[in-house]
Amino acid sequence: MAMSMMRSALLRNSLRSASKPSAPTRRGFSSSANHDDAYEAAKWEKITYLGAASCTILAIYNLSRGHPHSETPPEYPYLHIRNKEFPWDLDVDLEIF
């Protein structure tokens, strides 16, 4: 989606710069660009609210369920690798790494 947006923006600009210098800088596909953008802005505003609302519901659902506590696995040699000291000598909990 981002790529196509970039491409269209580039195309729009190259078209614009290729046209006559006296031509007014206006979006070519619409005679009333303002109205179009106002419509699109309102549409995407609604989509944002819809997305945010579903995120809120899903967040409440997820957070209310809590998370399972997994058992400590056996001490396989590839887990919890400690080859050398950490470069800092602060009194912090190094088990988060």
């Binding site: 580039l10 470069p87 790494f97």
Partner: protein
């Protein structure tokens, strides 16, 4: 405005910031290596280097804002050059993340016997992709919608609505980062737990770092929109931030599908 100029290109003034940024990067690299190998003075050089870079970023971008907003150097042709430059930057970022996906698929498609010949490695308790990661997917997609809302509001000349839309984008971005932080804290594995932990935290960690950068970029756009810097015809900074935000969003979709979902079953 410059009255004697007969072309629309921006011939920049000599600036000390490229060399100061380079020296900052050099000090950061050397200081970082020294620090990680416990050399004396490593931490000092690293901090100095980072400070130098942050200072350079501040003053350089301050100059760019003065050149564009106050001096009017960013003509149509200059804007086009800036867009090309930013697209090339995003392409380089795609390559950066490509490397981490390569490391992940290299390790997970044919798991070695040292990790039990399976992926996820034996003993790794993975995160459920349909809990927080899926929620984060929705949050990022919603913030992508919000940034599109901001874009159309700017084009329609609705200045106040654009500020609200950018605030919504930033808010969703901060919620994403909050959930990622919570997930990191509660994760049953760490970066030192096998190649799984290494590839997982390298890829998702760098993504998180990019989300934070994108959030700062959008915050700056919001402030500039509030101050009236961005207009219908003149908002390259915002467009760059929006492209960057969509890029970060797309990287997350790939992370979600390959590392969280496919790599977690």
């Amino acid at each position: 405005m410059i009255f004697s100029q007969r072309h629309s290109y921006h011939l920049v003034d000599p600036s000390p910031w490229p060399i100061s940024g380079s020296l900052g990067a050099l000090a950061t690299t050397v200081g970082g290596v020294m620090y990680m190998h416990s050399f004396q003075g490593g931490a000092t050089l690293l901090s100095l280097g980072l400070l130098f870079i942050l200072y350079t970023m501040f003053v350089w971008w301050r100059d760019v804002l003065r050149e564009s907003t106050l001096e009017g150097h960013h003509t149509k042709v200059v804007q086009l050059g800036l867009r090309y430059g930013f697209i090339l930057f995003i392409v380089s970022e795609v390559m950066f993340f490509f490397a981490f996906f390569w490391a992940f698929f290299h390790s997970s498609l044919a798991p070695t016997v040292e990790i039990g010949g399976i992926w996820p490695p034996k003993g790794i308790g993975v995160l459920d992709p349909w809990e927080i990661p899926f929620l984060n997917t929705l949050i990022l997609l919603s913030s992508g919608a919000a940034v599109t809302w901001a874009h159309h509001a700017i084009l329609a000349g609705k200045e106040k609505r654009a500020v609200y839309a950018l605030a919504a984008t930033v808010l969703l971005a901060l919620v994403f980062t909050g959930f990622q932080g919570m997930e990191y804290y509660q994760a049953p594995f760490t970066i030192s737990d096998s190649i799984y932990g290494s590839t997982f935290f390298l890829a998702t960690g760098f993504h998180g770092f990019h989300v934070i950068i994108g959030t700062l970029f959008l915050i700056i756009c919001g402030i500039r929109q509030y101050l009236g810097h961005l207009t219908k015809e003149h908002h390259v900074g915002f467009e760059a931030a929006a492209w960057y935000w969509h890029f970060v969003d797309v990287v997350w979709l790939f992370l979600f599908v390959s590392i969280y979902w496919w790599g977690g079953i």
